[in-house]
């Protein structure tokens, strides 16, 4: 524990560093599988095929990079917003170890083909059980810290943190219910259309409780900190909070439009998805209005650039998402490349940009130093932005093109193209996407180098002071 400030910050350092490691793994695997799609010769069965690597990419990204850094910043933010030190730094240390063990186990077991097949819930039951233990340890520590707080009211970030803790727990437990056959094999407890409905209730709310509420908690904390100006409206944040966590849980079946899941479930999902625009954009407006009179900081303060671009992508994401949730549009673009384009705007644009800002803000403070290089941070920004835009835009075009081809008919009503004829037209887009991924990876490496040098500089200064 850092005695000088009274906050348990060493553990934050651990989570930040390990989340960056897993983030690099996620992007490396992502770039590799984007090449596999374009060049099938790059599949090396049995372990290194697209089918086995794609779950490693998503799990490393969502759980390694995402959850890892959320753990770091939940611990960082909660202590500060409660003006008290972490309830149990010892428990947090156990949590860090367990976190790394779980992610490493996930990568190894998935490569070996131990896979439940349910998206973002692929881990077999022994590993999934460890995830539950990990989450309980984490949740107890955060909740107890909030309970013993020295600040009467809870800032909006704490609301989102608490919702995340309970939301993820409910989702994960229900969707991972399984009938074990052996240590390495289990079957889902639900069957057919039921299993599908449970899965996408989980899947879409993983988007809510992992890729929305935690980054919002982080955004609401670090935007005011970076600009030096309080958030525009705390009360708007509160109203949006309740609306958001209420409505999200109804929307899972928009992943199942036109499938055998009951129509009324699909219709509710569609309606609530459109309604979600309101609370989502409340957060966007809260960000923008906070910048009133501060827009010059976009030029001067690289942190603000990351955060405001991040919330802007969140705004785009929450307009595009509901439009995809409408039956007619879904009929057109679902199952095409449009969807990966959409997802990566959210993960690379929204979540990661906000996390980059949070890391740039906290690491120099944790190591009592300055960031190594602001110009490098700017290079990082433009590289990841370019990489992500190339990825998303090419995938949207590819998706629309394939959808149009799949729907093309001859005058006699028969279909004009076979599936494979629509697919082979995607190769040029897949090459572009891989290029976008490489550019993004380059940006990430610049970021990692910058943070590495910042930490090294901080340690050198500390050593010099002691001497």
């Amino acid at each position: 524990m850092n005695q000088q400030e009274g906050y348990a910050d060493d553990i934050v350092k651990g989570f930040v560093i390990w989340s960056m490691v897993w983030g690099l793994v996620a992007v490396l695997v992502g770039v590799f599988i984007s090449f596999q799609i374009a060049f099938p010769q790059l599949n090396f069965p049995p372990y290194l095929t697209y089918g086995r690597l794609r779950p490693i990419h998503t799990n490393a990204g969502i759980f390694g990079w995402g959850i890892g850094s959320f753990m770091a910043f939940f611990i960082y933010i909660t202590q500060r917003l409660t003006r008290t030190s972490l309830w149990s730094p010892g428990l947090a240390k156990v949590q860090l170890w367990l976190f790394n063990v779980v992610i490493a186990l996930a990568a190894v077991t998935l490569a070996m083909g131990m896979n439940r097949s349910k998206e973002y819930a692929e881990l077999e039951w022994p590993v999934a059980s460890l995830v539950v233990v990990l989450w309980v340890i984490f949740a107890v520590n955060i909740v107890m810290t909030i309970v013993k707080r020295r600040e009467e009211q809870m800032y909006i970030s704490l609301w989102y943190i608490l919702a995340t803790l309970v939301g993820v727990a409910v989702l994960y437990l229900v969707n991972n219910a399984a009938i074990p056959v052996s240590l390495t094999k289990s079957y889902s407890a639900y069957a057919g259309a039921n299993d599908a409905n449970v899965q996408w209730w989980y899947g879409h709310n993983a988007v809510a409780m992992v890729l929305t509420t935690p980054p919002l908690a982080i955004f609401y904390y670090f935007l005011p900190k970076a600009t030096g100006v309080p958030i525009y409206s705390h009360r708007m944040g509160v109203v949006a909070f309740w609306s958001l966590i209420f409505m999200y849980l109804w929307t899972g079946a928009h992943h199942l439009l036109w499938t055998p899941v009951p129509d009324w479930v699909q219709t509710l999902a569609m309606g609530f998805s459109v309604m979600l625009i309101a609370p989502s954009w409340a957060a966007v407006f809260n960000g923008y209005f906070s910048m009133n009179g501060q827009w010059h900081q976009m030029r001067e303060n690289y942190l603000v650039k990351f955060l405001i671009f991040g919330i802007t992508f969140y705004g785009m994401q929450t307009l595009q998402g509901p439009s995809q949730a409408v039956r007619t549009f879904s009929a057109f673009i679902h199952y095409t490349d449009w969807v990966p384009g959409h997802v990566h705007m959210g993960t690379l644009g929204w979540v990661s940009l906000v996390l980059f800002a949070a890391i740039y803000y906290t690491v120099p403070r944790l190591y009592h130093t300055e960031v190594y290089s602001v110009p490098l941070a700017n290079v990082h920004f433009w590289l990841v932005l370019t990489g992500q835009l190339i990825f998303s835009i090419t995938m949207w075009i590819a998706g629309v093109q394939q959808a149009a081809m799949l729907n093309a008919t001859n005058p006699d009503g028969s279909l004009h193209y076979s599936f494979i004829e629509t697919m082979v037209e995607l190769y040029p887009y897949w090459h572009m996407r891989a290029l976008g991924g490489v550019i993004y990876l380059a940006g990430l490496l610049v970021f990692l180098y910058n943070i590495y040098q910042t930490i090294a500089g901080g340690k050198a200064q500390a050593a010099a002071q002691r001497a």
């Binding site: 003006r83 309080p230 705390h234 509160v238």
Partner: protein, 61 residues
Amino acid sequence: MDSASIYYLGVTLLLFLVFAAIVARTYSRKQKAKGEQPKYRMMDDDYPSDEKKGGRDVRRK
């Protein structure tokens, strides 16, 4: 209108009322100062609370 539709309408109205109540409470005059207070207090939290900083341990209250 069958009974199911009336029931759904009732639930919808109820949910809307809950929402209206949350908005009314959050934006009531009484709440204005209090509701916006955390956003100012969070600006100054780089050190844990001690007496001089004005933080207080709510448990001891």
